[in-house]
Amino acid sequence: MSDYIIEMNHITKRFPGIVANDDVSIQVKKGEIYALLGENGAGKSTLMSMLFGMYEPDEGEIIIRGDKVKIQSPNHATKLNIGMVHQHFKLVSNYTIAENIIMGMEPVKKTLGLFKSVDLKKANEDILALSRKFGLEVDPTKVIEQVNVSMQQRVEILKMLYREAEILIFDEPTAVLTPQEIEFLLEIIRSLRDDGKTIILITHKLEEIKKIADRCAILCRGRLIDVLDVASTDTKTMANLMVGREVSFTVDKPAPKYGKEVLRVEHLTVRNEDKYEVVKDVSFSVREGEIFVVAGVSGNGQIELADAIAGLIKPSGGTVTLNGADITSYSIRKRNLAGISYIPEDRHNVGLVMDFTLADNLALKNYFEEPFSRKGVIHNEEFTSYGDKLIDKFDIRSSQGNDTIVRSMSGGNQQKAIIAREIELGSSLTIFVQPTRGLDIGAIENIHKQIIGERSKGKAILLISLELDEVMNLADTIGVIYNGEIQKIADARELTPTQVGEFMMGVGGRHEKE
């Protein structure tokens, strides 16, 4: 009998064309916070999915509390008191919090001693009690659609606790949270550990590990690189191990040289489908050679703001001016031609036609112009030569070059393709929405360089970012958005990360007033 609660020995898992885990072994002690660190595609999530019974390992063994087990399903994992909060929450959007938590383990009552039905009243009471016990207050009767991301995460945590999980796996839990919410979450995780729970934290954020983890396993390309004691290791060492080379944390950025105003947004108001105002009376402007960053927590209207500027949704009020011309009533096509490039948030559903070839996608914004087509007839050879040019210039890697179906390309290269297409248009304004989301450090570095490069060419850049680091590293000017309203616009050098974080929570500037 060992003193480990979890042992995963010599685990290997292959997927078509890739070895996701290659002879990985980890041992986790009861009551510790164990971090799994690695870039995207390093195999962290795969490893934990096997612990949670979503896949079975091709080779290797899993030992839980000294017993060798074959975890066949999430159900089985639950029985072994293992719980997992997935990166993408698994919640039913039109159900209440209580219904979501109890699903699969519903309390049942009998009406007239005969008809079994779900006892929602008891469920609500149980969950209220449970949430109070762990300091995770929720209103069990609220519908998931109507609560924010942080609350949804609480529901996921309560789901595990409701199932009496002892081993809690968190997959990138902080990716969608504000700095303050992250603090709160880390506090919760710590107190769960103090309650005797064992925690496994999947992340690529070094500070979090430094803050709360006891030990940390580093994965790189499916292999276990090292297991470190967090207290005695510095973040720089961890980062180098994770990436497999030296990384620089800061971006080289020359001093700004602003030119004339390119974009002016005045009193812009946007309503969503339910007629609810998601962008409220927003005004700002962006100049040549300026990176204007709209910082904010996910879901505060920044996507709608970008969409409204690019023409994907119609604003209900206000104006958008580009290079002096009022483009508020322009169609999307007309705005593109007038000089807007747009790298959207959702690269799969919006930025690319996934079933088209790379060449077709690279020409997606100019296929209708000469030389790509004349009088309505398309000239395929122009697509090919244009594609070759961009593939070469932006180092887009794919299996079959121009003819590759974009769906089969890696996320990083898909994003490269979008950025290549948009930059090559030579527009005076380029809008980037979370351009580095879900990419690994190497790809992030590359994209940051591209953005700075555009700035040096005198282009106006509007960047929408959720990552505080990215905001602080790239911004010339920061506009913080909260609940659809711009809270603060200031030169980036005048704001500290903490201040930006406070504005993102809608509580910024209070100290100044007092």
Binding site: P16, Y342, P344, V353, M354, F356, L364, Y367, F368, G376
Partner: protein, 374 residues
């Protein structure tokens, strides 16, 4: 299906349909063979010789010689008659295909056929215009009415977000009953209980043309269908419109983002689709037949969905799949008289082919998995 993972069959399957470049036509061929074998077993169980029955299908379609022919008949007359039946199927399949490319399911081809066929019948078929004017007018009216019917569906989808599957089904019934009412009230032939026959000048098939010793029906529409296929292939592969239709069909949001007017493109695609359905209608009701049976919606529109699917949604593929399905349906009457197999089994076999072809994506997925395992 196909459990024997290491057997010879497994190897043969891998050899034949494992090759990625060939998959797009090998998988349909494979599913068709499977269905034909299945049909053969059923025919054998019913006590008939399946090989003979299948040969009868070819004979009935003028692709193989019959033992004997009636006066003025021959294999060539059977074949032109087969082409006569093939024409509407080709158009209908094109209609389904174009909509499919735009990401829309045009289940209303049959209704659009009826609307166009009926309008052309009433306006031109019962007129006394000379053939040289009447025939082009029939084609024109067929296309325009079909296109209008399609455009409405596209518009409802674009403007009111009404699922095209639902609206086309609704229109199918509306056309069916309205046309039935109009025929019964104004245009009914008291003997046949169908609409009165159209005149020869408006009809797109030349009936009983004497060539040499034969009297045959010559479908002019087949030439038009050939042009239709070529035009569709050109539009889809070589024009901006085709590019936009495909973009909208693959990803509506990406297309919109790229500056394509999604609504306009969809309406245009549905217009083209409906237009071809209209041509199917006039070549059916004023070519293959000369009258309309009230309260009946022909199955061509539904079969065409299968034909388009089987033809791998490519204009060239459609030629082959239309051919196959028409052979089965057209030859079934002769099969019934020669082998005594119920003619209805033809549509059952068609149904089975469809069933298997709907599994095509799964077969492809499985085969590729096997390939990776090996």
């Amino acid at each position: 299906m196909k459990k024997n993972k290491n057997g010879i069959i497994h190897k043969v399957i891998l050899q034949t349909i494992g090759h990625e470049k060939r998959q797009h036509y090998m998988i349909p061929v494979f599913t068709i063979l499977l269905s034909l074998i299945f049909g053969a077993i059923v025919i054998a169980l019913l006590g008939s010789n399946p090989f003979k029955a299948y040969y009868n299908l070819l004979q009935g379609s003028g692709l193989a010689p019959k033992a004997s022919y009636a006066g003025h008949k021959g294999i060539i007359t059977d074949f032109t008659s087969f082409l006569n039946a093939l024409t509407p199927m080709l158009f209908a399949a094109l209609a389904v295909l174009i909509a499919l490319k735009a990401g829309l399911f045009n289940i209303g081809v049959s209704g659009q056929m009826l609307a166009a066929g009926f309008t052309a019948t009433v306006l031109i078929g019962y007129s006394t215009l000379p053939a040289i004017v009447a025939k082009p007018l029939v084609v024109l009216i067929g296309f325009v009415i079909g296109a209008l019917a399609g455009a409405v569906v596209g518009f409802l989808k674009h403007r009111f977000n009404i699922n095209e599957v639902v609206s086309t089904i609704m229109f199918n019934y509306i056309f069916q009953y309205v046309v039935s009412f109009l025929i019964n009230t104004f245009y009914v032939d008291p003997v046949s209980r169908q609409s009165k026959n159209v005149g020869a000048s408006g009809r797109l098939t030349l009936v009983d043309v004497v060539i040499g010793d034969y009297k045959m029906d010559i479908p002019l529409g087949i030439l038009l269908a050939a042009v239709g296929i070529a035009v569709t292939a050109f539009i889809m592969n070589k024009t901006i419109l085709g590019f936009e239709i495909k973009a909208v069909g693959s990803s509506m949001r990406a297309a919109e983002y790229a500056g394509i007017q999604v609504g306009r493109t969809r309406v245009l695609a549905m217009m083209l689709s409906g237009g071809f359905a209209g041509l199917a209608g006039v070549t059916y009701y004023m070519g293959y037949f000369a009258s309309i049976q009230p309260k009946v919606l022909v199955s061509t529109g539904y079969d065409a969905i299968a034909v388009a699917l089987l033809g791998n949604s490519s204009p060239i593929g459609i030629i082959f799949s239309s051919f196959l399905i028409t052979v089965i349906s057209k030859g079934s009457t002769y099969m019934n008289s020669a082998s005594g197999v119920q003619a209805e089994i033809a549509s059952a076999i068609t149904g089975i082919i469809l069933l298997f072809s709907a599994c095509g994506a799964y077969v492809k997925y499985k085969v590729n998995r096997w390939k990776e395992d090996n």
